[in-house]
């Protein structure tokens, strides 16, 4: 009984932590972009203000019930994948639902939110939504290939499909996986640029081209749910990369330092780049990242 209670409280604490950290990272991103453009920028807690305002808006748009389910799918996928990523290597509070094949499960689960959102956006009937969805799915085909290649390389090299198993292996060998298989790390980082949908890969939400794409018909509370889900999902991706490649984190400060350092890669790469066209984005992922993923696979086979 007590253990179940602690598990549930721990899950709620995990969601709150992911939400807070993800929102603060979003605010930090806006601040960093503003400083690079020689502006003052909004305060770092601006995203919290935005999300509270969005939840307090009225929402009276109805296009069909799948449209109402779209943001729910997105937030469900974010929280489910959060439950399978180990937050800390020690301690009881941030426990999670581990099993021996959770990395494979995560690779599937991380796609589910975008697919649910695509369903919801499809029913709104807005042409911008349809274009945004087709762009997003094409881009997903682009970055999933190097990402899966690097994950498979790690799984074959270390003979485990469990994330906690990988953390233990890194602790035993006292070497991070970004050093024991550097090519897989490079491929995964380049795939991460596309996963975050920041410039130059923001072809899905391009406000000047397709009027924010899939979410163009979602206002008010739905936009707030999308923001919540996006910040939780950003935390999930960063924590997964830290767990798999950088040996996990034993306390929250270490986690924040490592994830923030990783987060700055797509942010800073995006600040100095304009937007790619759709076919440029896809060919980008199928050239160098896929090549590094292939080298990583060969490296893993002969390790």
């Amino acid at each position: 009984m007590n253990t179940i209670l602690i598990e549930i409280l721990g899950a709620i604490a995990t969601i709150l932590l992911a939400f807070t950290v993800g929102m603060l990272y979003g605010g930090a991103r806006r601040k960093v972009i503003a400083r690079i453009q020689n502006r003052v920028g909004p305060p770092i807690y601006q995203n919290f203000i935005d999300v509270v305002k969005l939840y307090s808006k009225e929402t009276s748009i109805h296009h069909g019930w799948i449209q109402h389910m779209g943001p729910v799918f997105a937030i469900t996928a974010s929280i489910t994948s959060l439950m399978f990523v180990p937050i800390l290597t020690s301690g009881n509070w941030f426990s999670n639902l581990n099993f021996s094949g959770d990395l494979i499960f995560l690779i599937y689960m991380m796609v589910f939110g975008s697919l649910g959102m695509a369903l919801g956006a499809g029913q709104t009937g807005n042409p911008n939504s349809a274009i945004g969805v087709s762009r997003g799915l094409s881009q997903m085909v682009g970055y999933e290939i190097p990402f899966v290649m690097s994950m498979v390389a790690l799984m074959t090299q270390f003979h485990t499909t469990s994330i906690t198993g990988m953390i233990e292996l890194q602790a035993q060998s006292e070497s991070w996986m970004m050093f024991s298989n550097p090519f897989a790390f490079i491929a995964a980082i380049m795939a991460m640029l596309g996963m975050f949908h920041y410039a130059p890969f923001d072809i899905v939400h391009a406000p000047a081209e397709v009027a924010s794409g899939p979410v163009s018909e979602f206002g008010g509370k739905y936009l707030g749910m999308m923001m919540t889900s996006g910040s939780i999902f950003a935390f999930v991706k960063l924590t997964l990369f830290v767990d798999v490649f950088m040996g996990g984190a034993s306390n929250l400060i270490e986690l924040v330092i490592k994830t923030f350092a990783l987060y700055m890669i797509p942010v800073l790469y995006g600040v100095i780049n304009p937007r790619y066209r759709t076919e440029q984005a896809i060919t980008y992922f199928w050239k160098w990242p896929a090549f590094f993923g292939l080298i990583g696979l060969v490296w893993a086979a002969f390790y």
């Binding site: 502006r39 808006k57 018909e217």
Partner: protein, 181 residues
Amino acid sequence: MYNDKNAQTIVDYIKNFTRKNSLFMLAYGTGCGAIELPATLTSRYDAERLGVRGAATPRQADLLLITGYLSTKTLKRVIRVYEQMQDPKYVIGFGSCTINGGMYWDSYNTIKLLDKYIPVDVYINGCMPRPESVIEGFKELQRLIAAGKADGATKYKENLDWYRNNQKKVLKNWPLVEYNW
């Protein structure tokens, strides 16, 4: 103080605080005033530090910015955009043209006073207003929101017949949506 019916409750206070500090702006940029907006939003004047940022579609926007004159043809689209926005919503009339017609005061196909067709919360005068006055307009709107007085949307709902009559006077033979709130 406790019996004052006009006093804001703590929930209203929090709501108004977030609303005034997070204005998603949809610029209806058919007039010449749209050229002042890039200067307002970029490095030199930086409206984002006040929480003002651009929204891509009417569904996501809180604030409709009418930048300059409206011909009767564009008025049709403005009414449609305004009615697509979600409550609470605010309108800023930008430049002299929205107040009295400005340099188009004797034109046969522009509207002269925007407030007769959609409710305007704040006017910014000038031809064109400089970015400083645009930011002052945003701040005035924030003051109104904080005091709970930016209620153009409720006015529009309550006096819909009056607004519809005014709209139909200039938009002849044009179907406008009828509501039964």
